[in-house]
Symmetry: C2
Subunit: 434 residues, 2 copies
């Protein structure tokens, strides 16, 4: 009978949660997969939705559809609002009546990921949106496209310059991708479309508080990335943290040389991540970013029936943290499935070991950097490699084909097909509120 | 010098406004095209976005991009808020500083289209959304997909049934398309994806107050459409107007037999259109639906420099109103360009004459009706004809190709790739507020 099978509750349908779910497909358990969204998101391409290169559905697939043939799983759209580790229940808010009674689990997998963090400056969120969900991506797309519209409708040269001033805060992979693509849009995509402004005069800045962009890559690739960004038209600022952001611009802190206010109507945030708030419900020890410290098999100390996987888990390996990237999340998902299987068989689980296949980052049109354990690539070849890997891993054949066509088209024409402003009545967008 | 050329201000980048703009490409005028949205929308396929078959960017193209090579046009994102026919100026709200000074015109073309109307029941708008813009389509998509999620999360059989009860009010082409596609989603697309509900048990009703669906078609095609709808699983109710709508359902008025309340969490409105409010700014005579009565050349009586085109214009031909369809709007756009050209040359404009090529409506998978001046088609052949015509007229080569691939895929797999719930934190959707 199905009700006597152990119940595995998995929270989060990202790479970690979905891979754990799939890895348990042939086990004698019943699984409930809970997510706040109805879709799995291919997060590595989210910046393409934000920059109008891809449509939202191109990089997302309904969780129910992905898992329709896996008989032992039930997908629930909902948000976990409480956790009782004594009674082994989670509470769920999902708009249905089932949510009112707590859901009992035998094994619990927390894989709710991370969100962006403003290092104690949550008041910046409105003026410097971050990129974690499809809704974030559409909001950023809207801002970018409206900025050029506002500049075109402006008579005042200072205000016009502020609308054409863009800043991306954070020189990690997301920041580099956003800045590079933004420069491409300004220089190529919008060419000839405006009558009063020259979009290629837009100023695109990438701001990194640390000494170099792509700090997780070898020094030589960081330098190459910075040069490639420069060629695309991105002004890279390193070693200067942003000390203030408002609707009119941002302040750069040059240390001893004082601070400089830079007018900019569009600031994007790619600087920090914090683990999902769900980790706090556990009451266990967490690291500075809110990630849960776990045992070598990814279970929670003192709670062998609870596991944490993906960006919510704080895992050290060889003295370094396992990075918050898709391959690590997938591997942790598979590890959790293995550990649950071991528990059920009364055996010990083998510890998690992250297999690092290498590190990729794209910079913009025909530019990327690749580091495969010392084998380094940059430029066009790296870009093709990056493209191949990302399209290969996109879920679902249809999406791969459509993404390839969209990119082929974009490459050939410099066009970005998703330049559609959605939401809130386009012409009546909110203005800086002062 | 460009400033001495006559200034043509065109309000609305739909079929009428865009076709007028293009038809003036080689004339010695300068054109300002104003739209509240940054894109031209291929409205005939909007129901496909609402029902998750196409992505929003598949059926829209940025106006700036379409018109980038037409040197005599400037595109402005903005909303017209005032009109002074004495001073010949329009006021614009567009978020830029240019909007603060009124825009002077020599010729004005009003082509701001229509919106949905609730026949004096604006309080129904929240519970029975209509379909005119991409934002409307995404809101409807969200409601449809969430209804199945809510039903799945429900323990109470009555509430579950209400979530699986769908109604489309209005048996015109849009209502027929929505109801037919909705039945296809319930019966085929969502098959096997749910564990507690059987989506194919959903009740999809199409409600028409008049005696038959597709009233603008010959009687025999209406009957065929109704049969085809029945085969797809749509329950067609005719001759019974809806007398009330709230978050819990709708009330059907069966005349002498009294009224019946039907529980339904999802009601879509496809019953009425009203002309854009811009027509009222003219102060001229308008028909019941708010459309502006025009001279035979589409100019406004007493204002030979102002034209009205598309759904905002009330035009009679051979005793019948010219219908609010895309071909009529395009033809009116071309007519207005012709009339402006005649005015500039000091000649009389020929009157507008609508060339009716026929009438098409799609019903669902492999079913449509076509009426080409008495040559009638229905079923599969009509559907292929409908498909061909619509893809042919989609703006932009890329869109055509992508739409074909999406449809090919949908046809073969019964899948709808855009089943992604966007906006507002999916799990925390607003519930009926009682």
């Amino acid at each position: 009978m199905s009700t006597t099978r152990p119940h595995v509750v998995i929270v989060g349908g990202g790479f970690a949660g979905l891979w754990a779910t799939r890895a348990l497909a042939n086990d004698d358990v019943r699984i409930t997969l809970i997510d706040r969204q109805n879709h799995h998101l291919f997060q590595p391409l989210l910046y393409q939705v934000a920059t109008a290169g891809l449509s939202a559905p191109d990089i997302a697939a309904p969780l129910r559809h992905i898992l329709r043939a896996q008989g032992n799983v039930e997908v629930r759209l909902g948000e976990v609002t409480g956790l009782d580790t004594q009674a082994r229940t989670v509470s769920l808010r999902d708009g249905g009546t089932l949510g009112e009674s707590p859901l009992h689990y035998d094994y619990l997998v927390l894989a709710s990921g991370a969100t962006h963090a403003y290092f104690g400056h949550d008041e910046w969120a409105g003026d410097a949106p971050g990129l974690k969900t499809l809704d974030d991506a559409l909001a950023i797309r809207r801002r970018l496209l409206l900025a050029f519209e506002r500049a075109e409708a402006c008579d005042d040269p200072d205000e016009r310059a502020a609308w054409l001033s863009f800043a991306v805060v954070g020189g990690g992979p997301t920041g580099v991708e956003l800045a590079g693509t933004l420069a491409e849009i300004a220089r190529h995509t919008l060419k000839r479309e405006f009558r009063r402004i020259d979009p290629s005069q837009a100023r695109v800045r990438l701001i990194e508080a640390g000494p170099r962009v792509l700090a997780s890559f070898p020094q030589s690739l960081s330098a190459k990335a910075q040069r490639q960004l420069g060629k695309l038209g991105v002004e890279v600022v390193t070693g200067a943290p942003v000390s203030a952001i408002d609707a009119h611009g941002y302040t750069l802190d040059h240390g001893g040389q004082g601070t400089v206010f830079v007018p900019a109507r569009t600031v994007l945030w790619a600087a920090g991540v914090a683990a999902s708030g769900l980790g706090a419900l556990l009451g266990n020890q967490r690291d500075r970013a809110g990630r849960v410290l776990v045992e070598p098999d990814l279970s929670v100390p003192g709670r062998p029936e609870i596991f944490v996987a993906g960006d919510l888990a704080s895992v050290q390996q060889d003295g370094k943290p396992v990075p918050g990237v898709a391959p690590a999340a997938k591997q942790m998902g598979a590890q959790v499935a293995h550990a649950i299987r071991a528990r059920l068989a009364g055996q010990a689980a083998t510890p998690f070991r992250y297999r690092d296949f290498g590190n990729l980052a794209t910079i913009g049109r025909m530019a990327a950097v690749v580091d495969l354990h010392g084998f380094k690539l940059s430029g066009l070849l790296a870009w093709w490699f990056w493209l191949l890997v990302h399209v290969m891993f996109l879920i679902g054949f249809r999406n791969r084909l459509i993404v390839m066509i969209n990119w082929g088209w974009a490459y050939w024409s410099y066009q970005r097909h998703a330049r559609i402003i959605l939401g809130g009545g386009s012409a009546r967008a909110t203005e800086p509120s002062d």
